[in-house]
């Protein structure tokens, strides 16, 4: 089937790509747009390494055709912070040892970002439940949970200080 134009914004930039309808969003991002933050872990909808944020939802980009995302706003880990201006989640993962090999980290941070948007002060249990779609083979999750709770505190503190 012929390629079609697909338009969406990725991390605030408008993109217009040509892709066959069967192209999965993760491949469009990584191979056409060189947005390599989202990783391919399992490719079977289980691990969450490919998680991106689409119009305010955490989505596994290996389980969505790029064409289904036509017209949407997509945010990946690259759009959450930059090396010079890390997001509190990114800082917290570094400070609290929330990663070892780092393979799961882009998905973890992108998912945690949406979780904290929806629930800015989660309990430990809510963090564990809200992160259940992301697998990590290294950390044993303890430090990931710790990092997300620390980021929530930091983000709430910043907000309080500004008020």
């Amino acid at each position: 089937m012929s390629k079609q134009h697909i338009k969406f914004t990725v991390n605030g930039e408008e993109k217009d790509v040509l892709a066959e309808p069967r192209e999965l969003l993760i491949h469009t991002l990584r191979e056409q747009l060189n947005v390599t933050g989202p990783h391919i872990g399992c490719e079977t909808s289980h691990c969450g390494a490919c998680t991106v944020d689409i119009d305010g939802k955490s989505v596994k980009a290996c389980t969505l055709f790029a064409i289904q995302a036509n017209g949407t706003e997509i945010t990946t880990v690259e759009g959450i912070g930059s090396p010079d201006d890390l997001h509190p989640l990114q800082k917290a993962f570094r400070e609290h040892h929330g990663l070892q090999c780092g393979y799961c980290t882009p998905g973890m941070i992108t998912r945690a970002y949406r979780l904290l948007q929806e629930n800015p002060s989660p309990t430990e249990e809510e963090v564990r439940f809200g992160m259940a779609g992301n697998l990590c083979r290294c950390t044993g999750y303890q430090n990931i949970v710790k990092s997300i709770l620390a980021a929530a505190d930091e983000m709430n503190g910043v907000k309080e200080a500004a008020e």
Partner: protein
């Protein structure tokens, strides 16, 4: 894992989606959240020539509660179900079950219509819908018709819906009394090894009415009238719960797979049903 090629359609309402289905015959499939269909397409277990994306069909989205009449549009996601306060008040059993389906990412995409239309014995909503006596509306070239959830499932992946029909909404009366959805799974995000949906009402210390359905213990969901009858009139004590479990075990027909051998599944079925009855009774 790249699916076979297909042509993509994105109709703006349900009526246009039905005419697309009709014009492309059995080469066409609708896609809702895609979280059952895309994995099957990647494995090349589903071949689709024309994929009809329902995401713009606003007429199939939303939850409404009018008195005790509840209506849920087929394109409502599991995430929307969980977030809905009016639904949690009217039918808390749906809230309890939706929280046990898959994981957060899947629930943002997966729809309740896709879950009940799919026909996978592992899906949680079909048994639940049988338990609460829901009715599905399907729209085809000749208009709407209604099919009871209890009559909808014929075999794995085979339902009473015709190929050119779209399941548009789910209707039911808000259940009364105690409720529970109890699911045993190997890990979060897994389908049930066994799950039980239970509704109970209580009058003067005894069970006045009961409804029981089991998930992933046969190639279709199992609504066990005999299990419910074993409870009615009794005080929901250990003996009547045992009788209900024994009756349920007569009705299920699990098969061995990577979730365990038949005997293990029957054992787990008994445990989840016992827990579900006890929890429902404590809430009745």
């Amino acid at each position: 894992m790249i699916p076979g090629a297909f042509e993509y359609h994105r109709p703006s309402d349900t009526a246009s989606a039905v005419s697309l289905l009709q014009s492309h015959g059995d080469e066409a499939r609708v896609i809702a959240g895609g979280h059952s269909l895309i994995p099957m397409m990647k494995l090349r277990m589903a071949a689709v020539e024309h994929l009809i994306d329902l995401q713009d069909c606003q007429d199939m989205k939303g939850i409404s509660v009018d008195g005790d009449a509840v209506t849920i549009g087929a394109m409502t996601t599991q995430h929307d179900l969980i977030e809905s306060k009016i639904l949690a008040d009217a039918a808390p059993i749906l809230h309890e079950a939706a929280l046990q389906i898959a994981d957060p990412q899947v629930r943002y995409m997966g729809t309740v219509g896709g879950n009940v239309a799919n026909g996978d014995p592992g899906n949680d909503m079909p048994g639940l819908m049988q338990c609460i006596g829901a009715v599905f509306t399907v729209l085809g070239p000749n208009g709407d018709r209604e099919i009871a959830a209890r009559d909808f499932y014929e075999a794995a992946y085979t339902t009473a819906r015709e190929d050119d029909e779209i399941l548009t909404q789910i209707r039911f009366t808000a259940p009364k009394g105690g409720y529970a959805y109890e699911k045993q799974k190997r890990k979060i995000g897994d389908y049930a090894t066994a799950a039980a949906a239970v509704l109970l009402t209580k009058e003067g210390g005894t069970v006045a009415s009961a409804s029981i359905a089991m998930t992933n213990l046969s190639d279709i969901p199992v609504w066990s009238e005999a299990a419910a009858q074993a409870l009615v009139g009794g005080a929901c004590d250990a003996d009547s719960v045992k009788a209900a479990v024994a009756a349920m075990l007569e009705d299920i027909d699990p098969s061995e797979d990577n979730r365990g051998p038949v005997e293990f599944k029957r054992h787990v079925a008994g445990i989840v049903l016992t827990r579900a009855i006890e929890r429902a009774w404590s809430r009745a």
